[in-house]
Protein backbone atom coordinates (compact mmCIF):
# COMPACT_ATOMS: atom_id res chain seq x y z
CA UNK A 1 0.00 0.00 0.00
CA UNK A 2 1.26 3.39 -0.93
CA UNK A 3 1.09 6.10 1.72
CA UNK A 4 0.54 9.61 0.57
CA UNK A 5 0.22 12.69 2.76
CA UNK A 6 -0.11 16.22 1.47
CA UNK A 7 -0.38 19.46 3.44
CA UNK A 8 -1.10 17.62 6.65
CA UNK A 9 -1.28 19.81 9.75
CA UNK A 10 -2.24 19.05 13.31
CA UNK A 11 -2.61 21.09 16.49
CA UNK A 12 -3.09 19.47 19.90
CA UNK A 13 -5.64 21.07 22.25
CA UNK A 14 -6.61 23.64 19.72
CA UNK A 15 -8.11 26.86 21.01
CA UNK A 16 -6.76 26.49 24.52
CA UNK A 17 -3.68 27.84 26.24
CA UNK A 18 -2.18 24.37 25.90
CA UNK A 19 -2.35 24.46 22.11
CA UNK A 20 0.70 22.80 20.59
CA UNK A 21 1.33 22.77 16.86
CA UNK A 22 2.68 19.32 16.16
CA UNK A 23 2.48 19.07 12.37
CA UNK A 24 2.78 21.90 9.93
CA UNK A 25 2.05 21.24 6.27
CA UNK A 26 3.63 17.81 6.00
CA UNK A 27 3.90 16.34 2.53
CA UNK A 28 5.38 12.88 2.28
CA UNK A 29 4.98 9.75 0.16
CA UNK A 30 6.05 6.25 1.14
CA UNK A 31 6.02 3.70 -1.67
CA UNK A 32 4.91 0.13 -1.26
CA UNK A 33 7.79 -2.16 -0.31
CA UNK A 34 9.96 0.45 1.34
CA UNK A 35 11.76 0.17 4.63
CA UNK A 36 11.20 3.78 5.47
CA UNK A 37 12.81 5.79 8.25
CA UNK A 38 11.51 8.85 10.05
CA UNK A 39 14.07 10.76 12.03
CA UNK A 40 13.95 13.96 14.06
CA UNK A 41 14.67 15.20 17.55
CA UNK A 42 12.15 14.86 20.38
CA UNK A 43 8.97 16.85 19.82
CA UNK A 44 9.43 17.19 16.07
CA UNK A 45 6.08 15.55 15.35
CA UNK A 46 7.14 12.03 14.39
CA UNK A 47 4.74 10.23 16.67
CA UNK A 48 1.90 12.57 15.75
CA UNK A 49 2.47 11.87 12.07
CA UNK A 50 2.48 8.10 12.34
CA UNK A 51 -0.65 8.09 14.49
CA UNK A 52 -2.44 9.62 11.54
CA UNK A 53 -1.60 6.58 9.44
CA UNK A 54 -4.08 4.27 11.15
CA UNK A 55 -6.65 6.83 12.15
CA UNK A 56 -5.75 7.16 15.81
CA UNK A 57 -5.52 10.85 15.09
CA UNK A 58 -8.05 11.87 12.50
CA UNK A 59 -8.28 14.74 10.14
CA UNK A 60 -11.30 16.52 11.59
CA UNK A 61 -13.87 16.34 8.83
CA UNK A 62 -15.95 19.26 10.04
CA UNK A 63 -12.87 21.40 10.39
CA UNK A 64 -11.96 20.83 6.78
CA UNK A 65 -14.47 23.49 5.89
CA UNK A 66 -12.61 26.07 7.90
CA UNK A 67 -10.13 27.90 5.85
CA UNK A 68 -7.38 27.44 8.38
CA UNK A 69 -7.34 23.77 7.50
CA UNK A 70 -6.34 23.86 3.92
CA UNK A 71 -8.90 21.88 2.04
CA UNK A 72 -6.09 20.42 -0.09
CA UNK A 73 -5.10 18.14 2.78
CA UNK A 74 -4.66 14.64 1.41
CA UNK A 75 -4.04 11.51 3.40
CA UNK A 76 -4.22 8.18 1.65
CA UNK A 77 -3.10 4.75 2.73
CA UNK A 78 -3.58 2.38 -0.18
CA UNK A 79 -7.23 2.71 -1.11
CA UNK A 80 -8.24 4.30 2.17
CA UNK A 81 -8.94 8.01 2.04
CA UNK A 82 -8.40 9.13 5.61
CA UNK A 83 -9.72 12.61 5.01
CA UNK A 84 -13.15 11.14 4.40
CA UNK A 85 -15.37 10.49 7.40
CA UNK A 86 -16.67 7.33 5.75
CA UNK A 87 -13.37 5.48 6.06
CA UNK A 88 -13.65 2.00 7.55
CA UNK A 89 -11.16 2.49 10.36
CA UNK A 90 -11.34 -1.10 11.53
CA UNK A 91 -10.25 -2.35 8.15
CA UNK A 92 -7.59 0.35 8.03
CA UNK A 93 -6.17 -0.67 11.40
CA UNK A 94 -6.08 -4.24 10.27
CA UNK A 95 -3.92 -3.26 7.32
CA UNK A 96 -1.69 -0.82 9.18
CA UNK A 97 -0.10 -2.36 12.26
CA UNK A 98 1.19 0.12 14.80
CA UNK A 99 3.81 -0.66 17.41
CA UNK A 100 4.02 2.17 19.93
CA UNK A 101 7.07 3.27 21.82
CA UNK A 102 7.81 0.86 24.67
CA UNK A 103 5.12 -1.56 23.47
CA UNK A 104 5.85 -3.88 26.39
CA UNK A 105 3.78 -1.53 28.56
CA UNK A 106 0.64 -2.44 26.66
CA UNK A 107 0.79 -6.14 27.55
CA UNK A 108 -2.13 -7.08 29.76
CA UNK A 109 -3.32 -10.66 29.39
CA UNK A 110 -2.70 -13.62 31.64
CA UNK A 111 -0.61 -15.51 29.13
CA UNK A 112 1.54 -14.57 26.18
CA UNK A 113 -0.80 -16.59 23.99
CA UNK A 114 -3.86 -14.58 25.03
CA UNK A 115 -2.05 -11.32 24.57
CA UNK A 116 -0.90 -12.12 21.07
CA UNK A 117 -4.33 -13.52 20.22
CA UNK A 118 -6.05 -10.28 21.35
CA UNK A 119 -5.52 -8.43 18.08
CA UNK A 120 -6.30 -11.48 15.97
CA UNK A 121 -9.64 -11.99 17.68
CA UNK A 122 -10.50 -8.32 17.50
CA UNK A 123 -9.96 -8.12 13.79
CA UNK A 124 -11.47 -11.47 12.83
CA UNK A 125 -14.76 -11.17 10.96
CA UNK A 126 -16.20 -14.02 13.00
CA UNK A 127 -14.94 -15.96 15.98
CA UNK A 128 -11.83 -17.78 14.69
CA UNK A 129 -11.61 -21.54 14.98
CA UNK A 130 -9.27 -22.82 17.68
CA UNK A 131 -6.71 -24.32 15.29
CA UNK A 132 -6.73 -21.26 13.09
CA UNK A 133 -6.11 -18.98 16.07
CA UNK A 134 -3.38 -21.25 17.36
CA UNK A 135 -1.69 -21.32 13.98
CA UNK A 136 -1.71 -17.55 13.69
CA UNK A 137 -0.40 -16.99 17.21
CA UNK A 138 2.25 -19.68 16.86
CA UNK A 139 3.61 -18.25 13.64
CA UNK A 140 3.63 -14.71 15.02
CA UNK A 141 5.49 -15.76 18.15
CA UNK A 142 7.97 -17.75 16.10
CA UNK A 143 8.34 -14.86 13.65
CA UNK A 144 9.61 -12.59 16.42
CA UNK A 145 12.13 -15.22 17.45
CA UNK A 146 10.53 -16.56 20.60
CA UNK A 147 10.12 -20.24 21.37
CA UNK A 148 6.37 -20.89 21.16
CA UNK A 149 6.32 -24.00 23.33
CA UNK A 150 8.35 -22.27 26.04
CA UNK A 151 6.52 -18.97 26.28
CA UNK A 152 2.91 -19.37 25.18
CA UNK A 153 1.72 -20.39 28.65
CA UNK A 154 3.84 -17.89 30.59
CA UNK A 155 2.59 -14.62 31.95
CA UNK A 156 3.91 -11.84 29.71
CA UNK A 157 5.17 -10.11 32.85
CA UNK A 158 7.54 -13.01 33.55
CA UNK A 159 9.44 -12.47 30.31
CA UNK A 160 12.70 -10.52 30.14
CA UNK A 161 12.70 -6.96 28.79
CA UNK A 162 13.73 -7.88 25.25
CA UNK A 163 11.34 -10.84 25.19
CA UNK A 164 8.46 -8.62 26.32
CA UNK A 165 9.10 -6.27 23.44
CA UNK A 166 9.15 -9.16 21.00
CA UNK A 167 5.91 -10.51 22.42
CA UNK A 168 4.32 -7.07 22.04
CA UNK A 169 5.47 -6.88 18.42
CA UNK A 170 4.03 -10.35 17.85
CA UNK A 171 0.72 -9.05 19.18
CA UNK A 172 0.66 -6.47 16.40
CA UNK A 173 1.93 -8.52 13.45
CA UNK A 174 -0.33 -11.47 14.22
CA UNK A 175 -2.86 -10.18 11.68
CA UNK A 176 -0.11 -9.81 9.05
CA UNK A 177 -0.71 -6.13 8.32
CA UNK A 178 0.51 -4.88 4.97
CA UNK A 179 2.11 -1.84 6.54
CA UNK A 180 3.95 -2.03 9.86
CA UNK A 181 4.76 1.20 11.67
CA UNK A 182 7.06 1.19 14.69
CA UNK A 183 7.72 4.13 17.00
CA UNK A 184 11.30 3.92 18.28
CA UNK A 185 11.35 0.11 18.23
CA UNK A 186 14.86 -0.12 19.67
CA UNK A 187 14.57 2.53 22.38
CA UNK A 188 15.95 1.48 25.74
CA UNK A 189 17.63 -1.71 24.51
CA UNK A 190 21.30 -2.55 24.75
CA UNK A 191 23.36 -2.48 21.51
CA UNK A 192 22.99 -6.21 20.92
CA UNK A 193 19.25 -6.03 21.59
CA UNK A 194 18.98 -3.15 19.13
CA UNK A 195 20.75 -5.11 16.46
CA UNK A 196 18.53 -8.12 17.02
CA UNK A 197 15.37 -6.05 16.80
CA UNK A 198 16.50 -4.48 13.54
CA UNK A 199 17.30 -7.91 12.10
CA UNK A 200 13.89 -9.05 13.21
CA UNK A 201 12.25 -6.11 11.44
CA UNK A 202 14.09 -6.91 8.24
CA UNK A 203 12.82 -10.46 8.46
CA UNK A 204 9.25 -9.26 9.00
CA UNK A 205 9.69 -6.92 6.05
CA UNK A 206 10.89 -9.75 3.83
CA UNK A 207 8.29 -12.30 4.80
CA UNK A 208 5.13 -10.60 6.16
CA UNK A 209 4.75 -6.86 5.89
CA UNK A 210 5.39 -5.26 2.54
CA UNK A 211 6.05 -1.80 3.92
CA UNK A 212 7.82 -1.04 7.17
CA UNK A 213 8.16 2.44 8.67
CA UNK A 214 10.39 3.02 11.65
CA UNK A 215 10.70 6.14 13.76
CA UNK A 216 14.03 6.76 15.40
CA UNK A 217 16.39 9.43 16.52
CA UNK A 218 19.42 7.26 16.07
CA UNK A 219 21.12 8.14 12.78
CA UNK A 220 23.10 4.92 12.62
CA UNK A 221 19.95 2.89 12.92
CA UNK A 222 18.32 4.77 10.06
CA UNK A 223 21.36 4.93 7.80
CA UNK A 224 22.11 1.24 8.12
CA UNK A 225 18.60 -0.05 7.65
CA UNK A 226 16.37 2.20 5.58
CA UNK A 227 15.77 2.59 1.89
CA UNK A 228 14.81 6.22 2.40
CA UNK A 229 14.41 8.51 5.35
CA UNK A 230 12.47 11.66 6.14
CA UNK A 231 13.96 14.24 8.47
CA UNK A 232 11.34 15.93 10.66
CA UNK A 233 11.93 19.22 12.38
CA UNK A 234 9.37 21.31 14.21
CA UNK A 235 6.45 19.60 12.56
CA UNK A 236 7.69 19.84 9.00
CA UNK A 237 9.60 17.49 6.70
CA UNK A 238 13.01 18.97 5.97
CA UNK A 239 14.40 16.31 3.65
CA UNK A 240 13.36 13.00 2.17
CA UNK A 241 16.40 11.22 0.82
CA UNK A 242 18.14 7.85 0.65
CA UNK A 243 20.63 7.55 3.53
CA UNK A 244 23.70 8.02 1.35
CA UNK A 245 22.45 11.39 0.15
CA UNK A 246 21.01 12.34 3.46
CA UNK A 247 24.42 12.47 5.00
CA UNK A 248 25.75 14.87 2.47
CA UNK A 249 23.82 17.38 4.56
CA UNK A 250 25.82 16.74 7.72
CA UNK A 251 26.00 20.40 8.70
CA UNK A 252 22.28 20.94 8.30
CA UNK A 253 21.57 17.80 10.34
CA UNK A 254 23.76 19.07 13.14
CA UNK A 255 21.85 22.33 13.03
CA UNK A 256 18.59 20.41 13.48
CA UNK A 257 20.05 18.92 16.63
CA UNK A 258 20.68 15.48 15.14
CA UNK A 259 23.76 13.39 15.38
CA UNK A 260 25.35 12.16 12.16
CA UNK A 261 26.17 8.51 11.55
CA UNK A 262 29.50 7.14 12.70
CA UNK A 263 30.66 6.42 9.15
CA UNK A 264 30.00 10.02 8.18
CA UNK A 265 32.05 11.16 11.17
CA UNK A 266 34.94 8.93 10.09
CA UNK A 267 34.78 10.30 6.55
CA UNK A 268 34.82 13.83 7.94
CA UNK A 269 37.84 13.08 10.09
CA UNK A 270 39.64 11.59 7.09
CA UNK A 271 38.76 14.58 4.98
CA UNK A 272 40.28 16.91 7.54
CA UNK A 273 43.53 14.99 7.05
CA UNK A 274 43.26 15.31 3.33
CA UNK A 275 41.93 11.85 2.55
CA UNK A 276 38.88 12.21 0.36
CA UNK A 277 36.55 9.24 0.43
CA UNK A 278 33.08 9.15 -0.96
CA UNK A 279 31.04 6.22 0.21
CA UNK A 280 27.39 5.40 0.67
CA UNK A 281 27.89 5.49 4.44
CA UNK A 282 27.35 1.86 5.22
CA UNK A 283 30.16 0.41 7.32
CA UNK A 284 30.84 -2.28 4.70
CA UNK A 285 31.20 0.21 1.91
CA UNK A 286 33.50 2.42 3.93
CA UNK A 287 35.77 -0.47 4.82
CA UNK A 288 35.86 -1.67 1.23
CA UNK A 289 36.83 1.74 -0.08
CA UNK A 290 39.45 2.24 2.64
CA UNK A 291 41.00 -1.14 1.82
CA UNK A 292 40.96 -0.40 -1.88
CA UNK A 293 42.69 2.87 -1.17
CA UNK A 294 45.37 1.29 1.00
CA UNK A 295 46.13 -1.23 -1.71
CA UNK A 296 46.35 1.61 -4.18
CA UNK A 297 48.83 3.47 -1.97
CA UNK A 298 51.00 0.56 -0.89
Amino acid sequence: MRIQAEHLSYVYNEKSPFAARALNDVTLTVEEGEFFGIIGHTGSGKSTFIQHLNGLIRIPSSLKKRKKYKSDTVLRVGDFDLASPKTDFRALRRSVGMVFQYPEYQLFAETVFDDVAFGYKNFAAEKPRKEELEDAVRSAIEMVGLDYAAVNDLSPFDLSGGQKRRAAIAGVIVTKPEVLVLDEPAAGLDPLGKQEIMQLLHRIHREWCKTVIIVSHDMDEISENCTRAAVFSEGTVKYVLPPAELFVHTDELRELGLDIPLTAKICEALRRRGIEISCDFTADDLVRKLLARREGIC
Partner: protein, 278 residues
Protein backbone atom coordinates in the same frame (compact mmCIF):
# COMPACT_ATOMS: atom_id res chain seq x y z
CA UNK B 1 -10.68 13.51 24.62
CA UNK B 2 -9.75 12.84 28.24
CA UNK B 3 -8.29 16.29 28.58
CA UNK B 4 -11.63 17.92 27.93
CA UNK B 5 -12.47 17.49 31.59
CA UNK B 6 -12.34 21.16 32.34
CA UNK B 7 -13.77 21.29 35.83
CA UNK B 8 -11.05 22.06 38.30
CA UNK B 9 -8.15 22.67 35.96
CA UNK B 10 -5.57 25.36 36.09
CA UNK B 11 -5.77 28.02 33.41
CA UNK B 12 -2.22 29.23 32.84
CA UNK B 13 -2.18 32.98 32.33
CA UNK B 14 -0.67 35.69 34.45
CA UNK B 15 -3.11 38.00 36.20
CA UNK B 16 -3.86 39.88 39.38
CA UNK B 17 -5.96 36.98 40.62
CA UNK B 18 -3.38 34.36 39.72
CA UNK B 19 -0.78 36.13 41.82
CA UNK B 20 -2.85 36.32 44.98
CA UNK B 21 -1.75 34.35 47.99
CA UNK B 22 -3.42 30.93 47.73
CA UNK B 23 -4.35 31.07 51.41
CA UNK B 24 -6.28 34.24 50.78
CA UNK B 25 -8.04 32.64 47.83
CA UNK B 26 -9.07 29.64 49.90
CA UNK B 27 -10.33 31.87 52.71
CA UNK B 28 -12.07 33.99 50.08
CA UNK B 29 -13.87 30.96 48.70
CA UNK B 30 -15.03 29.86 52.14
CA UNK B 31 -16.16 33.39 53.07
CA UNK B 32 -17.87 33.71 49.70
CA UNK B 33 -19.84 30.53 50.23
CA UNK B 34 -20.85 31.74 53.70
CA UNK B 35 -21.90 35.08 52.20
CA UNK B 36 -24.02 33.26 49.60
CA UNK B 37 -25.91 31.60 52.39
CA UNK B 38 -26.15 34.74 54.49
CA UNK B 39 -27.61 36.64 51.53
CA UNK B 40 -31.36 36.42 51.90
CA UNK B 41 -32.49 38.39 48.87
CA UNK B 42 -31.58 39.18 45.28
CA UNK B 43 -29.74 42.36 46.24
CA UNK B 44 -27.38 40.37 48.40
CA UNK B 45 -26.79 37.90 45.56
CA UNK B 46 -26.27 40.79 43.17
CA UNK B 47 -23.46 42.08 45.37
CA UNK B 48 -21.85 38.63 45.41
CA UNK B 49 -22.30 38.25 41.66
CA UNK B 50 -20.75 41.65 41.02
CA UNK B 51 -17.70 40.78 43.08
CA UNK B 52 -17.29 37.47 41.27
CA UNK B 53 -17.75 39.08 37.87
CA UNK B 54 -15.06 41.58 38.76
CA UNK B 55 -12.78 38.72 39.83
CA UNK B 56 -13.38 36.83 36.56
CA UNK B 57 -12.57 39.92 34.52
CA UNK B 58 -9.39 40.51 36.53
CA UNK B 59 -8.32 36.88 36.12
CA UNK B 60 -8.26 36.85 32.29
CA UNK B 61 -9.97 33.47 32.31
CA UNK B 62 -12.36 33.48 29.33
CA UNK B 63 -16.05 33.39 30.20
CA UNK B 64 -16.59 30.35 28.01
CA UNK B 65 -14.19 28.42 30.18
CA UNK B 66 -15.92 29.56 33.35
CA UNK B 67 -19.33 28.55 32.09
CA UNK B 68 -18.00 25.18 31.09
CA UNK B 69 -17.60 24.49 34.82
CA UNK B 70 -21.25 25.40 35.35
CA UNK B 71 -22.25 23.10 32.52
CA UNK B 72 -20.68 20.26 34.49
CA UNK B 73 -23.27 20.66 37.25
CA UNK B 74 -26.14 21.70 34.99
CA UNK B 75 -28.13 18.61 35.89
CA UNK B 76 -27.87 19.37 39.58
CA UNK B 77 -28.96 22.96 38.99
CA UNK B 78 -32.01 21.97 36.93
CA UNK B 79 -32.92 19.25 39.41
CA UNK B 80 -32.85 21.72 42.31
CA UNK B 81 -34.87 24.27 40.38
CA UNK B 82 -37.58 21.80 39.37
CA UNK B 83 -37.86 20.35 42.84
CA UNK B 84 -38.29 23.78 44.36
CA UNK B 85 -40.80 25.01 41.82
CA UNK B 86 -43.07 22.09 42.61
CA UNK B 87 -42.61 21.64 46.31
CA UNK B 88 -41.79 24.99 47.86
CA UNK B 89 -44.91 26.94 48.67
CA UNK B 90 -43.57 29.97 50.39
CA UNK B 91 -42.76 30.86 53.91
CA UNK B 92 -45.85 31.92 55.84
CA UNK B 93 -44.03 34.82 57.47
CA UNK B 94 -43.09 36.60 54.25
CA UNK B 95 -45.77 35.30 51.95
CA UNK B 96 -48.92 35.34 54.03
CA UNK B 97 -51.09 34.49 51.06
CA UNK B 98 -48.98 32.50 48.59
CA UNK B 99 -50.40 33.02 45.13
CA UNK B 100 -51.05 29.57 43.71
CA UNK B 101 -50.46 29.52 39.96
CA UNK B 102 -51.06 25.86 39.22
CA UNK B 103 -52.06 22.83 41.23
CA UNK B 104 -52.25 19.07 40.62
CA UNK B 105 -52.58 16.61 43.48
CA UNK B 106 -49.63 17.23 45.73
CA UNK B 107 -47.76 19.39 43.18
CA UNK B 108 -48.30 23.07 43.60
CA UNK B 109 -46.59 25.89 41.80
CA UNK B 110 -46.67 29.20 43.59
CA UNK B 111 -45.12 32.54 42.85
CA UNK B 112 -43.02 32.10 45.94
CA UNK B 113 -41.80 28.73 44.66
CA UNK B 114 -40.66 30.18 41.36
CA UNK B 115 -38.92 33.12 42.95
CA UNK B 116 -37.24 30.88 45.47
CA UNK B 117 -35.99 28.40 42.88
CA UNK B 118 -34.53 31.20 40.76
CA UNK B 119 -32.83 32.38 43.91
CA UNK B 120 -31.40 28.92 44.56
CA UNK B 121 -30.21 28.51 41.00
CA UNK B 122 -28.30 31.77 41.14
CA UNK B 123 -26.80 30.79 44.46
CA UNK B 124 -25.70 27.42 43.13
CA UNK B 125 -24.23 28.85 39.94
CA UNK B 126 -22.27 31.44 41.89
CA UNK B 127 -21.00 28.77 44.25
CA UNK B 128 -19.76 26.52 41.46
CA UNK B 129 -18.28 29.40 39.52
CA UNK B 130 -16.37 30.72 42.50
CA UNK B 131 -14.99 27.26 43.33
CA UNK B 132 -13.84 26.70 39.79
CA UNK B 133 -12.26 30.14 39.73
CA UNK B 134 -10.08 29.02 42.61
CA UNK B 135 -8.76 26.05 40.65
CA UNK B 136 -8.50 27.99 37.39
CA UNK B 137 -6.27 30.60 38.95
CA UNK B 138 -4.24 28.53 41.43
CA UNK B 139 -1.79 25.81 40.52
CA UNK B 140 -2.30 22.52 42.35
CA UNK B 141 1.04 23.00 44.04
CA UNK B 142 0.26 26.38 45.53
CA UNK B 143 -3.22 25.18 46.40
CA UNK B 144 -1.79 22.41 48.55
CA UNK B 145 0.79 24.82 49.94
CA UNK B 146 -2.05 27.09 50.96
CA UNK B 147 -4.07 24.30 52.52
CA UNK B 148 -1.04 23.06 54.40
CA UNK B 149 -0.34 26.52 55.72
CA UNK B 150 -3.96 27.08 56.77
CA UNK B 151 -4.08 23.71 58.52
CA UNK B 152 -0.85 24.30 60.42
CA UNK B 153 -2.68 24.91 63.74
CA UNK B 154 -3.88 21.30 63.60
CA UNK B 155 -0.29 20.18 64.13
CA UNK B 156 -0.88 20.97 67.78
CA UNK B 157 -3.19 18.02 68.03
CA UNK B 158 -0.66 15.85 66.14
CA UNK B 159 -2.63 15.89 62.93
CA UNK B 160 -0.25 14.91 60.07
CA UNK B 161 -0.74 18.11 58.11
CA UNK B 162 2.43 17.87 56.07
CA UNK B 163 1.81 14.27 55.08
CA UNK B 164 -1.74 15.10 54.07
CA UNK B 165 -0.52 17.97 51.91
CA UNK B 166 2.13 15.71 50.35
CA UNK B 167 -0.44 13.07 49.50
CA UNK B 168 -2.64 15.71 47.95
CA UNK B 169 0.08 17.24 45.86
CA UNK B 170 1.33 13.87 44.62
CA UNK B 171 -2.20 12.89 43.65
CA UNK B 172 -2.79 16.18 41.88
CA UNK B 173 0.58 15.99 40.16
CA UNK B 174 -0.08 12.53 38.81
CA UNK B 175 -3.59 13.06 37.48
CA UNK B 176 -2.45 14.57 34.17
CA UNK B 177 0.40 12.07 33.85
CA UNK B 178 -1.89 9.11 34.31
CA UNK B 179 -4.41 10.68 31.98
CA UNK B 180 -1.75 10.91 29.27
CA UNK B 181 -0.78 7.35 30.00
CA UNK B 182 -4.38 6.20 29.72
CA UNK B 183 -4.69 7.86 26.36
CA UNK B 184 -1.49 6.24 25.15
CA UNK B 185 -2.55 2.78 26.28
CA UNK B 186 -6.01 3.24 24.79
CA UNK B 187 -4.43 4.17 21.49
CA UNK B 188 -2.16 1.15 21.59
CA UNK B 189 -5.10 -1.18 22.22
CA UNK B 190 -7.26 0.53 19.61
CA UNK B 191 -4.45 -0.07 17.13
CA UNK B 192 -4.85 -3.76 17.96
CA UNK B 193 -8.52 -3.53 17.13
CA UNK B 194 -9.93 -3.06 20.63
CA UNK B 195 -13.42 -1.61 20.51
CA UNK B 196 -13.38 0.67 23.51
CA UNK B 197 -16.47 2.69 22.81
CA UNK B 198 -19.09 0.31 21.46
CA UNK B 199 -21.00 -2.78 22.49
CA UNK B 200 -23.16 -3.63 25.49
CA UNK B 201 -22.26 -3.14 29.13
CA UNK B 202 -20.71 -6.59 29.56
CA UNK B 203 -18.63 -6.13 26.45
CA UNK B 204 -17.49 -2.72 27.55
CA UNK B 205 -16.42 -3.89 30.97
CA UNK B 206 -14.41 -6.62 29.33
CA UNK B 207 -12.97 -4.09 26.92
CA UNK B 208 -11.66 -2.03 29.82
CA UNK B 209 -9.31 -4.74 31.10
CA UNK B 210 -6.69 -4.21 28.38
CA UNK B 211 -6.52 -0.56 29.47
CA UNK B 212 -6.83 -0.90 33.24
CA UNK B 213 -4.21 -3.62 33.65
CA UNK B 214 -1.31 -1.75 32.02
CA UNK B 215 -2.45 1.46 33.69
CA UNK B 216 -2.39 -0.10 37.16
CA UNK B 217 1.01 -1.61 36.51
CA UNK B 218 2.33 1.71 35.33
CA UNK B 219 0.92 3.53 38.36
CA UNK B 220 2.59 1.01 40.65
CA UNK B 221 5.85 1.31 38.76
CA UNK B 222 5.73 5.09 39.03
CA UNK B 223 4.92 4.92 42.73
CA UNK B 224 7.93 2.68 43.22
CA UNK B 225 10.20 5.00 41.28
CA UNK B 226 8.92 8.06 43.10
CA UNK B 227 9.52 6.35 46.44
CA UNK B 228 13.06 5.50 45.43
CA UNK B 229 13.68 9.03 44.20
CA UNK B 230 12.43 10.49 47.46
CA UNK B 231 14.59 8.08 49.42
CA UNK B 232 17.60 8.95 47.31
CA UNK B 233 17.09 12.60 48.21
CA UNK B 234 16.84 11.72 51.91
CA UNK B 235 13.21 12.76 52.28
CA UNK B 236 12.37 12.50 55.97
CA UNK B 237 8.96 14.08 56.27
CA UNK B 238 7.86 17.49 57.39
CA UNK B 239 9.80 18.49 60.47
CA UNK B 240 12.89 20.13 59.09
CA UNK B 241 11.70 21.07 55.64
CA UNK B 242 11.69 24.59 54.33
CA UNK B 243 9.66 25.95 51.42
CA UNK B 244 11.02 26.84 48.02
CA UNK B 245 8.23 29.34 47.51
CA UNK B 246 7.38 31.19 50.70
CA UNK B 247 3.82 32.37 50.87
CA UNK B 248 3.71 36.08 51.53
CA UNK B 249 0.88 38.49 52.05
CA UNK B 250 1.23 41.53 49.73
CA UNK B 251 -0.67 44.74 48.92
CA UNK B 252 -2.72 42.77 46.38
CA UNK B 253 -3.94 40.47 49.08
CA UNK B 254 -4.75 43.40 51.29
CA UNK B 255 -6.95 44.97 48.60
CA UNK B 256 -8.81 41.72 48.09
CA UNK B 257 -9.16 41.28 51.82
CA UNK B 258 -10.80 44.67 52.14
CA UNK B 259 -13.03 43.90 49.17
CA UNK B 260 -14.09 40.66 50.81
CA UNK B 261 -14.86 42.45 54.07
CA UNK B 262 -16.90 45.06 52.22
CA UNK B 263 -18.85 42.38 50.37
CA UNK B 264 -19.71 40.51 53.56
CA UNK B 265 -20.71 43.72 55.30
CA UNK B 266 -22.91 44.63 52.34
CA UNK B 267 -24.63 41.26 52.29
CA UNK B 268 -25.28 41.37 56.03
CA UNK B 269 -26.68 44.89 55.86
CA UNK B 270 -28.93 43.96 52.96
CA UNK B 271 -30.19 40.95 54.86
CA UNK B 272 -31.04 42.98 57.92
CA UNK B 273 -32.79 45.79 56.06
CA UNK B 274 -34.50 43.97 53.20
CA UNK B 275 -35.15 40.45 54.44
CA UNK B 276 -36.55 37.72 52.21
CA UNK B 277 -36.32 37.24 48.43
CA UNK B 278 -38.31 39.83 46.58
Amino acid sequence: MLKDVSFGQYYPVDSFVHRLDPRLKIVFLIAYIVALFVASNFYGLAVCAAVLLFAIICSHVPFGKVFRAVKGVLFLVIFTAVLNIFFYNGDAVYWNAPAVLWEWHFLRVTQAGIVFSVFLVIRLVLLVTCSSMLTYTTTPVSLTDGIESLLTPLKWIRFPVHELALIMSIALRFIPILMDETERIMNAQKARGAMLDSGGLGKRIKAVIPVIMPLLLSALRRADELGDAMDARCYMGGKTRTKYKKLTFTWRDLIVFLLLAAMIAGVVVLRIYLGAPL
